[in-house]
């Protein structure tokens, strides 16, 4: 910092010198200085200036004076030397010529002022480092302060690192004055500038004085102090004089530096010191601090920014004069602020689409104001813990490629995530932890960098980088403050943009999802208003149901359905339940006529659980499926029919018997009547009885034929309430003779009180017939005990079960599982469809069929049938067929 002030002073004092070029060389931190480093630096400087006619060398700092003198002797023996040191002892004995300024590091004048301003001071604590200069100062102060021995106690804190120092300082009572000597190298060898000390101590509530004006405005009270910038001016004047006249002092001349009498108005206020106590010849600074006043304090964040570190400055008399650096700096700041003000407005108003263009404009503006060449904006992805670049400027350049930011720049990444700025004018300023970052940055050729973290509620949301690859940029504090303002706007903007992007993404996703769906999808609100829709079914207008043909965004779908009438109004009622959230979903089929024949659509509605309610309604054309289903049903009916024909075929002998018996009786009765009537005295009464018998037997024969016909006809009667017991009895009549023919005993255990079940009567009879004939055939093969037992009774869940058990050989274990599958048969000449058909029929009744082998041998088939619950049941059953 001191160097910076001196340098500023030199530049200000020499800026109107014609044809003067100033070369500035900085040295690394003293802590890193080794002989090898020094040697390589010498080599570098020799190379750099070997062909430059240097007329004058300026050494700033005790450490550099011998170095500079050595360089002068080696390369520019005729060049003059000007220097600034804190100790006379730093001047090499063998030095022949040079004009120097001696910086007074003794805070005594400032202590004196403080004591006069604040009589209540009862203690003075001298904070001091471990260098020899510090030691000398301590001795001197110890002596000087004895004059106050009656009223103040004096103590020394030596070589204490900053955080600890503040802690120690707190332990002193009120009324303690803290005096800083030079910058402090603490016990650990780490160097803290006294500006930092002053700031920290002042923040902790202490009154601080210092020997120089460096900490003025940073927390120090002020006083009669060494003025660095003025010392710079003095050096500048000497340089001009020497270069203008070509005459320098003969021999080594050392004078004291310029001083300055000034106090910080804010410190006065803080400690309740009336301005009237301040001597007339003292300036009162920062009365109304403005950005321009603060501007004078440049920011140097590098760790090398300590007093009298090391600077080598050389001047060359060959080119035109330098620009007025400070004025330019001021101008730049004004431009920057104007530019940021404008871009901020643009940023706040920018839509996500406009953001890239706005950022480009901002980048170009920053480049113009700050002289940087790169700008990038990054967003932080919390899931990956990574910064992802969303803006890079200039577009003509290719952004650096690296695997991940966090891996490539771990230090910078960590600093930014923790909400800290990363600033460097030169790569070397980065700390040792940043070794990896430095390595990578060096590859990019980066010179200066400023990284500002973008945070929202202390969480990282992004970062903002500006960098130069050609120039070492001194990042001015005001510039950083201005950029911080800009960053705050960027935070708002990025978070807004990201939210909008996410919303748009989900919008886009739902749009794409809609678009990709086959069929016709509508999104409706709680009133049925269509909010969104995808492209329509691949059906022509006249192939659509009427309600869908008119369905466009903005129309009310429920009203369209109601208006369409017929089945559509039924749909409207169902949909309304879903739309208002009474039902979560609904599936409906809708059949309708088109010029090309009947079509079917399936409509699925899914309720939206949002505040506005509403639903997604997806309509799919299912005509093909319906056709296939109907074909399947027809095929099934045909198969069932074939099965019935086959089942009856099995019974032909038995059926012939059933018909021949009444026919025989009819014939006998008719012939008896004929004989009775042909007698000379006809027996009318007996004849009438015979004719009555004929009528009865004829009815009996007709009944058998009717039954057969009903079994053989293709159509079915429909699902209805059926008395299971009656159906069993009826069926048994068909097979009883068959059983007798085959010497199988049929036993029917009747339960006369069973309520009706749900079935189609003919199909149920077919199932029973199949099961009994199968049982008879299975039993037939047995040598004796050929029995089939049939009974119906209640089962669980209010169902009824029909059981057909036989004394046959049972069903082999490997066939038990597949016996209801199509094309399985144990019959030699059977169709093999009997049992699968039984199952499909029973399934269609909503029942089920099972089989098991009995422990006593033989098998038991069970048909479970649903009880008939009332008229609603059959209509419900029918509902899935058509709406």
């Amino acid at each position: 910092l001191a160097n910076r002030h001196v340098l500023d002073g030199i530049q200000e004092a020499t800026r109107d010198a014609l044809g003067l070029t100033l070369f500035v060389e900085f040295n690394g931190p003293a802590t890193l200085e080794t002989e090898a480093v020094a040697e390589s630096r010498r080599k570098l400087l020799r190379q750099r200036y070997a062909n430059q006619p240097i007329d004058l060398l300026v050494a700033i700092g005790d450490r550099l004076l011998p170095e500079t003198e050595r360089l002068r002797k080696d390369l520019f023996p005729s060049a003059k030397l000007v220097f600034l040191v804190a100790s006379r002892n730093s001047v090499p004995a063998e030095m022949q010529q040079g004009e120097g300024l001696l910086v007074d590091m003794n805070p005594l004048p400032s202590i004196r002022l403080a004591m006069s301003l604040m009589p209540e001071i009862s203690r003075v604590v001298v904070i001091s480092g471990t260098s020899t200069i510090d030691e000398m100062l301590r001795r001197s102060l110890a002596v000087s302060l004895t004059e106050y021995a009656s009223k103040v106690q004096v103590s020394f804190l030596v070589g204490i690192p900053l955080p600890e120092l503040v802690e120690k300082a707190r332990q002193f009572p009120k009324g303690t004055l803290f005096a800083l000597t030079s910058s402090v190298a603490d016990r650990s060898g780490r160097v803290t500038s006294n500006t930092d000390q002053a700031r920290e101590l002042s923040t902790a509530g202490m009154m601080v004085v210092e020997a120089t004006d460096l900490s003025l405005g940073e927390g120090a009270l002020g006083g009669d102090v060494t003025a660095y910038r003025r010392s710079g001016h003095e050096i500048g004047r000497r340089i001009r004089r020497i270069l203008d006249t070509g005459q320098a002092a003969s021999g080594v001349v050392i004078e004291s530096t310029r001083r300055r009498k000034a106090v910080d108005w804010r410190q006065l206020k803080r400690f309740g010191i009336p301005e009237s106590r301040v001597p007339r010849d003292f300036e009162i600074l920062y009365r109304h601090p403005t950005i321009w006043e603060r501007h004078r304090v440049a920011i140097v964040t590098a760790i090398g920014g300590l007093l009298f570190q090391t600077i080598l400055i050389s001047f060359l008399l060959s080119e035109r004069r330098r620009r007025a650096a400070a004025q330019a700096k001021m101008k730049r700041q004004l431009e920057l602020e104007a530019m940021v003000a404008k871009t901020s407005a643009d940023l706040s108003a920018a839509t996500p689409e406009q953001l890239p263009a706005t950022l480009r404009e901002l980048s170009a503006g920053l480049s113009a104001c700050l002289g940087i060449e790169r700008v990038s904006v990054w967003i932080y992805e919390p899931e990956q813990g990574e910064y992802v670049r969303i803006h890079f400027w200039p577009e003509s350049q290719t952004p650096w490629r690296f695997t991940t930011f966090a891996q490539t720049f771990p230090y910078i990444h960590n600093e930014l995530v923790s909400g800290r700025h990363v600033v460097f004018t030169r790569l070397e300023e980065l700390p040792l932890d940043a070794a990896q970052d430095v390595l990578e940055l060096r590859k990019t050729g980066m010179a200066s960098f400023l990284g500002i973290p973008l945070t929202l509620s202390e969480k990282p949301i992004g970062a903002f980088f500006i960098a130069s690859f050609t120039r070492a940029i001194r990042w001015e504090r005001d510039a950083i403050s201005t950029l911080q303002v800009l960053s705050d706007i960027l935070v708002q903007d990025i978070s807004r943009t990201m939210a909008e992007k996410r919303a748009r993404l989900s919008e886009e996703q739902s749009r794409a999802m809609l678009a990709s769906l086959p069929g016709f999808v509508l999104m409706v609100d709680g009133t049925g208003q269509i909010l969104k829709q995808n492209n329509r079914l691949d059906l022509a207008e006249d192939e659509l149901p009427r309600a869908l043909a008119g369905a466009f965004v903005g129309k009310n779908f429920l009203e369209l359905c109601r208006a369409a009438g017929g089945a559509s109004s039924h749909i409207a009622r169902g949909l309304e339940e879903v739309v208002v959230g009474n039902k979560t979903s609904l599936v409906m089929e809708h059949g309708y006529e088109t010029p090309d024949g009947p079509r079917w659509v399936e409509m699925r509605a899914e309720s939206l659980c949002s505040e506005r309610q509403g639903a997604v309604v997806a309509t799919t054309d299912i005509t093909e499926r319906k056709k296939a289903e109907s074909e399947n049903a027809q095929n099934r009916q045909t198969a069932w029919h074939l099965n019935r024909v086959a089942a009856l075929g099995e019974l032909t002998a038995s059926l012939a018997h059933e018909i021949n018996q009444p026919l025989a009786a009819i014939l006998n009765s008719a012939e008896a009547a004929a004989a009775l009537l042909s007698r000379p005295c006809p027996d009318i009464a007996e004849s009438l009885e015979a004719i009555g018998d004929i009528i009865d037997d004829d009815k009996r024969a007709s009944a058998v034929i009717r039954k057969m016909r009903s079994m053989l006809k293709r159509s079915y009667e429909g699902i209805q309430a059926v008395n299971l017991e009656a159906t069993v009895s009826e069926t048994l009549r068909l097979v009883i003779n068959e059983a007798r023919l085959r010497h199988v005993t049929l036993r029917h255990l009747a339960s006369p009180d069973l309520p009706p079940i749900v079935a189609d009567p003919t199909q149920l009879q077919q199932v029973i017939l199949n099961l009994i004939t199968n049982a008879i055939e299975a039993t037939e093969t047995m040598p004796d005990n050929r029995q089939v037992e049939i009974k119906a009774c209640f089962a669980e869940d209010g169902m009824q079960v029909l059981e057909v058990r036989d004394t046959g050989p049972g069903i082999s274990a490997d066939k038990l599982a597949t016996i209801f599958e199509p094309f399985y048969t144990s019959k030699r000449d059977g169709l093999g469809l009997g049992l699968p058909i039984c199952r499909s029929i029973v399934d269609s009744f909503g029942g089920r069929i099972t089989v098991e082998n009995l422990p006593s041998g033989g098998a038991a088939f069970r048909v479970f049938l649903r009880a008939f619950a009332g008229a609603s049941q059959t209509s419900q059953q029918a509902a899935h067929v058509a709406i």
Binding site: L663, A665, N668, E686, N737, R740
Partner: protein, 120 residues
């Protein structure tokens, strides 16, 4: 026509068949007794005085064929005419082929019945 009224026993489980036959034979002045099963007939056979027995082949329990076999071993058993309502009956065919007895296929005419009775 029958020269003299005959005494006929009818064994058939079908009631209307029994009634029809009985009425027909009555009309032709025969004396008729009816039985619903082979067992019932066997119970009474020793006390019976019949000229011919009309027996249905398919009876519940003991079948007509089995009844026929029992009667063949009885001394003084009446001649038998079998009846069947099954169009084709291998068992009946086999018996007839062996010349054992008559078999009438239902429905049969009066003429067929009388021929069989006379032949028996």
């Amino acid at each position: 026509m029958l020269k003299a009224p005959m005494k006929v026993a009818i064994v058939d489980d079908d009631e209307s068949v029994r009634r029809g036959l009985e009425r027909l034979l009555h009309a032709h002045l025969c004396t008729v007794s009816t039985y619903a099963s082979a067992e019932e007939f066997l119970e009474n056979v020793r006390r019976l005085d019949v000229d011919v027995a009309l027996i249905d082949i398919y009876l519940p329990g003991l079948s007509g064929i089995e009844l026929l076999k029992r009667l063949e071993s009885e001394v003084g058993a009446p001649p038998v005419i079998l009846m069947t309502a099954h169009g084709e009956s291998e068992t009946a065919d086999a018996l007839l082929d062996a010349g054992h007895t008559f078999c009438l296929r239902k429905p049969f005419t009066l003429e067929q019945l009388l021929d069989a009775m006379l032949a028996a």
